[in-house]
């Protein structure tokens, strides 16, 4: 299991429509980038959620791999819906090469104020492909559920694993059905 390191690319936007180019060298001991997140850090105060104030594009391995095109949103000042989710990415990093990209401001002119945006890159020194990409791991689904007629049918959906030899699983009439309420 490798270590995870976060690379932060932080940019200051000073004028509407500004185009900012950046390049960043990922430390050579990191082997793979597994996620990214583009966020508005501070500057734009708004009462309403603004879905797009700009766009990040970034390519890895010195322009060999175009991997990121993502909008940046601005959260409402009073009710921020903060999310810590990273979007998944799977880029094998070549040693000593650059992450190169552009940030383009598209903020509505009536909202514009100088602001800061960041692009977070989640990278690891391991070459293994990580299965769980979310920061909030989903608890494992129980495979065996006691049938109970009183149970609320709308709450849970459990699937017996047909590959599990211990379970006596019989395929029902609809083979396309991936999950059935027990």
């Amino acid at each position: 299991m490798g270590v995870t390191r976060y690379n932060i690319i932080r940019l200051q936007v000073d004028r509407p429509g500004q185009i900012i180019r950046f390049q960043h060298k990922v430390p050579t001991y990191l082997k793979r980038c597994t996620g990214f997140k583009a966020v508005h850090v501070r500057g734009i105060g708004t009462d309403l959620y603004v879905p797009e104030i700009g766009w990040f594009t970034a390519s890895f391995n010195s322009l060999k791999e175009e991997a990121i095109v993502t909008p940046v949103s601005a959260q409402a000042f009073y009710e921020p819906e903060e999310t810590h989710e990273f979007q998944s990415l799977d880029v094998l990093l070549l040693q000593g090469q650059l992450v190169v990209g552009v940030y383009l401001d598209t903020c509505p002119s009536n909202l514009f104020a100088p602001y800061i945006v960041s692009l977070y890159l989640r990278c690891t020194d391991s070459n293994e492909i990580k299965q769980v990409t979310s920061n909030n791991p989903v608890p494992p689904i129980e495979q065996k559920v006691q049938p109970d007629a009183k149970e609320d049918e709308t709450e849970d959906c459990s699937c017996p694993n047909p590959m599990d030899e211990d379970d006596e699983y019989e395929e029902e009439s609809n083979p396309d059905q991936l999950c059935s309420i027990i």
Binding site: I19, L63, K64, E66, V102, L104
Partner: protein, 107 residues
């Protein structure tokens, strides 16, 4: 002397991309139309005549963005665009340029 074609081949060799097609592609602009869109998915457009574009022209693509400024006029470098490429001319120009790209289709 900077040679565009040599530069292009060096660039794509460095990126380990092989070129399937290389040719010129032009966008003829005309009055009353300030926005043009070109689809350049899985290919690259290299702008060759940035110097003749009106100041304030913006070229926005999925991989690169450019605003033509006076500082850009003296530069020889080729800007590369890919994906959906939008060209937006500034309001109130007198001469509508022909925008020239070298189109590179990769393998």
């Amino acid at each position: 002397m900077f040679d565009h074609l040599v530069h292009i081949h060096q660039q794509y060799k460095q990126r380990e991309l092989s070129i399937q097609l290389q040719r010129f592609k032009t966008v003829v602009t005309k009055s009353a139309t300030l926005r043009y869109e070109i689809e350049a998915y899985n290919e690259y457009l290299l702008l060759t005549n940035a110097a003749v574009l009106p100041i304030g022209t913006r070229i926005i693509s999925d991989t690169n963005s450019l605003e033509v400024t006076t500082a850009l006029k003296g530069l020889e470098g080729l800007e590369e665009f890919s994906g959906l490429v939008a060209i937006v001319l500034p309001v109130g120009i007198d001469n509508y340029p022909i925008i020239e790209f070298i189109q590179i289709v990769k393998e």
